[in-house]
């Protein structure tokens, strides 16, 4: 257990040292938010549409979903670089689990991003973009729940793709595919409400909208959720279980493949 805590602390510290990266990434996130707020203000009529989605709500949506996304750290190379360099053989001999180590690494970085990016960005947006979010305690608790569940889904998908590096030399195309799907289907930019019916139903079968769309909406429009909260929780658990099974399988089979292939 100590190892993982230590690792969280290490990757947190590593993130601090990259100061310029820090400032530019905040700027990037702000730009991103700004662009989308501009778009929504331009295309959504004042009075709102679709059961009360107003430009103000979409502004808050853009900020919230981007913030959540910003706090999920990217750690693509962690496992795949170990596989490529063969370092993984050494890691496998040590008394810790690589997937858990990976989790620790992501948690560490995400903690840093939450504190060093998430919070400043939130403060900045509240003043600059005039966000008003009225939250009841219950809603906030529900939000925290979904946030953590969503983080787990995020981690499991990342683990899955990283494990593909046992099978393919270049995993990069898979990450690209993943990012493209996330951009489109996770609610990072467009809320599920705006999708045509048939597409909406298809997407609900994937884990993607659970990443950003639902946590954001449970905070912003708790009374107009597409799926009620309890059913939502159920869906989260189903997704997590399925993803857990798939990624564990791929990972374990991948490890087994390693000595056979010679590493």
């Amino acid at each position: 257990m100590k190892i993982y805590l230590k690792y969280i602390s290490l990757s947190f510290q590593k993130a601090i040292t990259y100061r310029i990266e820090y400032f530019t990434s905040i700027l990037n996130a702000l730009l991103y938010i700004f662009i989308f707020i501009s778009i929504w203000k331009a295309i959504i009529p004042e009075e709102g549409i679709d059961n009360g989605i107003t430009p103000e709500i979409m502004t808050s949506y853009a900020v919230l979903s981007t913030l959540i996304k910003a706090t999920f750290a990217r750690s693509q190379g962690f496992i795949s670089s170990k596989v490529r360099t063969g370092e993984i053989a050494v890691d496998l001999m040590k008394p810790y689990s690589i997937p858990l180590l990976y989790l620790s690494d992501i948690i560490g970085q995400s903690l840093f991003q939450l504190l060093a990016r998430g919070i400043p960005l939130l403060i900045f947006c509240i003043f600059f973009f005039n966000i008003k979010i009225e939250v009841e305690l219950i809603q906030f608790i529900k939000f925290i729940n979904l946030y953590f569940l969503s983080f787990i889904i995020y981690y499991l998908i990342s683990l899955f793709i990283s494990s593909l590096s046992f099978y393919f030399v270049e995993v990069f195309p898979f990450w690209i595919l993943y990012f493209a799907l996330v951009t489109f289907m996770s609610g990072a930019i467009i809320p599920l409400d705006f999708f045509p019916e048939f597409l909406k139903n298809i997407i609900l079968f994937t884990p993607f909208p659970y990443l950003f769309y639902f946590p954001t909406m449970v905070l912003l429009r708790p009374n107009q959720l597409l799926i009620n909260y309890n059913e939502l929780l159920l869906n989260y658990f189903i997704n997590i279980v399925i993803l857990f099974i798939i990624s564990s399988l791929i990972y374990r089979m991948g490890i087994r493949k390693l000595p056979i292939a010679g590493g």
Partner: protein, 268 residues
């Protein structure tokens, strides 16, 4: 033809292409990357249009035109100005000193040595975008329009290329410009994927007169789409792409020379 091949810069470009042929795999990956990126962006916009029909008066075909001009310019720039993107590594490894030891222009060498055909991936996507634009909107491709299209791409490429040169010249003063570069490349693309009129007036002024990327696709679109220019600052801005490109280029060269002089007095 012979004279062509005897020009040092042309030969350096050819050599660069030959060298990079070795790494064919990267081309495919690169193509996949930008394909994935643009497809997801297009999906997002398509969704918005499906729901809202237009974005501040710009319909699907017109937005496609914006994309077309942007992607073409990006394609030309990533082919020709690739050397500026890797300039911080270039200087750090001592390759810049080697460039100084040859009786040729420094910028000329840096651009020629790193000439990168993978930028053509952008161009192929640009053609796709052009076809889609034509499918959605009727544009009369007479001689004048084709000519002005080429001019616009040249101007847009000059604008983006000049920005690259200016960002690269920061390397003369600081060790790394990675983050700055990432920020500039990122924003110069993101802002332009939507029509400028969705942004606040301040931002529009900024993107027209201070960081003048709007000239790459927004203003020239008015010309091709025959849009009413009464909403923008001045109707003549429509023709500003090439002049702005040339202007920025001179500024970029000037700043570059300043950087070279600084390097000459302080070393690496």
């Amino acid at each position: 033809m012979k004279i062509f091949l005897e020009n040092p810069y042309i030969r350096l470009i050819i050599s660069s292409i030959q060298s990079k042929m070795e790494y064919r795999g990267t081309f495919l990956i690169f193509l996949l990357t930008i394909l994935g990126f643009y497809l997801s962006q297009v999906a997002v916009i398509a969704l918005m249009l499906y729901k809202f029909k237009t974005i501040k008066g710009w319909n699907a075909g017109e937005l496609a035109m914006l994309y077309t001009l942007l992607i073409f310019s990006m394609g030309v720039v990533s082919t020709i100005f690739s050397g500026m993107i890797d300039f911080s590594d270039f200087i750090r490894k001592g390759d810049y000193d080697r460039v100084l030891l040859r009786p040729l222009s420094t910028i000329g060498q840096i651009l020629s040595i790193n000439f990168d055909l993978t930028g053509l991936a952008h161009l192929s996507l640009g053609f796709v975008a052009l076809v889609i634009t034509n499918h959605l909107i009727h544009i009369n491709w007479n001689f004048a329009n084709i000519f002005y299209f080429i001019i616009t791409i040249i101007g847009g490429s000059l604008i983006l290329g000049s920005i690259r040169i200016m960002v690269a010249s920061v390397c003369f003063y600081a060790i790394s410009n990675e983050s700055l570069q990432h920020l500039i490349v990122f924003s110069s693309r993101e802002f332009l994927m939507y029509p400028l009129n969705i942004y606040t007036r301040t931002v529009q002024i900024f993107l027209t007169f201070i960081f003048p990327i709007a000239f790459i696709n927004y203003y020239p679109s008015y010309y091709f789409l025959n849009k009413d220019p009464s909403m923008i600052f001045h109707p003549y801005l429509i023709y500003g792409t090439l002049p702005m490109g040339i202007f920025l280029f001179f500024i970029a060269i000037f700043l570059w020379r300043l950087g070279e002089r600084y390097y000459g007095s302080t070393g690496s």
